[in-house]
Symmetry: D2
Subunit: 134 residues, 4 copies
């Protein structure tokens, strides 16, 4: 992705934050948003859709939270640290909730197995960035 | 708005939550998202745009967080309480940050005065709902 | 809603466009986004969810398109008329598709009846604005 | 990205559409949404922000349209072809408008140069998919 190039060409410095950690959190959240939207739609098409209601729910919530997190993390003009930290926390929680749910039927549905992996990557990326911000 | 009618026609009960509190949080977050998008664009058009950078930043962050919160709060199928609570917390923080910023130039820009009011309404609605969820 | 106040306090004029038509399109699209998100979740909770797959699909598509349309319509700084007109056309189409679908089971599900009404309001508001822009 | 794996694990076939074309359109739109959000924030931080108003405008519009397009394209349950085609058309237009604007100062701002490239990729991917759908 072009995220590292965008971060490095921004007029403001990253204020000591690792470019790699920041780029990874933005990319992981953006991919997670699309993947969760995909997984919700695949669950909806399954014959067993009635058993996948909670998976659709956590997928759709996670997609919304990750999309918002990716946008908030993309901004570095001005200062809004408290909102950034809260959104990282929300994103860690939404990804963990969705991964827990998807892992429960990863053996039956390949889309849930892939989605759980993508959620775990985003959960870790946001947790690592939160630690780095302090 | 039609939010109360939508909540009351949902197959699931609100599990003891006040319909009024829930509808107010959804409506306040939805209006806040649009209002903050409007305020960011109005700030961009001001001659003093260079002095309004932080206002644009908090406007755009608040719009993203409120839109995601409105969507998450609109779901009641399955269970995802931890994500709901984190997003309410994020929304309280983003609205407080944006209202603090907008109030600083509410005397000069009517759009910032209106936006600050809308943010304070959403901050309160989400805080009240968070208290009710417990 | 506060949309009229926000439009009137924007530094730029509406370039001959009726404030009422513009405010109605923004408000109708914002309410439609939330209502469709609600309706998708209510359909998911219905026992007959397997028969409501297409309704969930058109609800979720309509929610995404309306949210994007509400944001694009909220901007008046600079000029981006071709994108504005295309998004109005997309919004008219998405609302018509969703209303057609919801009307098909409005007699069985009150949330679909309300959602169809909200979609028709947004379809009309965007079509009227498109005509006014020319 | 994991988009190809998600498409291939969806219960529904792609109805004759090339998986590569569909995956490329979803990925290109998702990356374009994040990149345009980044570029808007970088423009806001530039000393010459007052000269970059139209770039911020087309960036923010393009980010909203691309995010909605990526979500709509991720769905294949049920049928909503007219909305899909309209959103592809909107996305082609928004990306062309933003790329035209960013290319105008690509020599001065590296973030605009990268953003224009990402917009052109998305414009082409959506146009190609639109042709394939017919």
């Amino acid at each position: 992705m072009s995220t590292t190039a965008m971060i490095n060409s921004h007029p403001n410095s990253t204020a000591g934050l690792s470019v790699d950690l920041l780029a990874e959190a933005i990319d992981a959240a953006a991919v997670c948003a699309t993947t969760c939207t995909n997984c919700a739609d695949a669950c909806l098409a399954e014959e067993s859709v009635a058993d996948l209601r909670n998976c659709l729910r956590t997928n759709l919530d996670c997609a919304d939270v990750c999309a918002a997190a990716a946008s908030v993390l993309s901004r570095r003009t001005g200062s809004n640290v408290s909102t950034v930290k809260e959104m990282l926390t929300s994103c860690v929680t939404a990804c963990a909730d969705c991964a827990d749910e998807c892992e429960g039927h990863a053996g039956m549905h390949e889309h849930c197995r892939v989605c759980a992996e993508v959620c775990r990557r985003c959960e870790k990326a946001c947790a690592d960035l939160l630690t780095a911000i302090g």
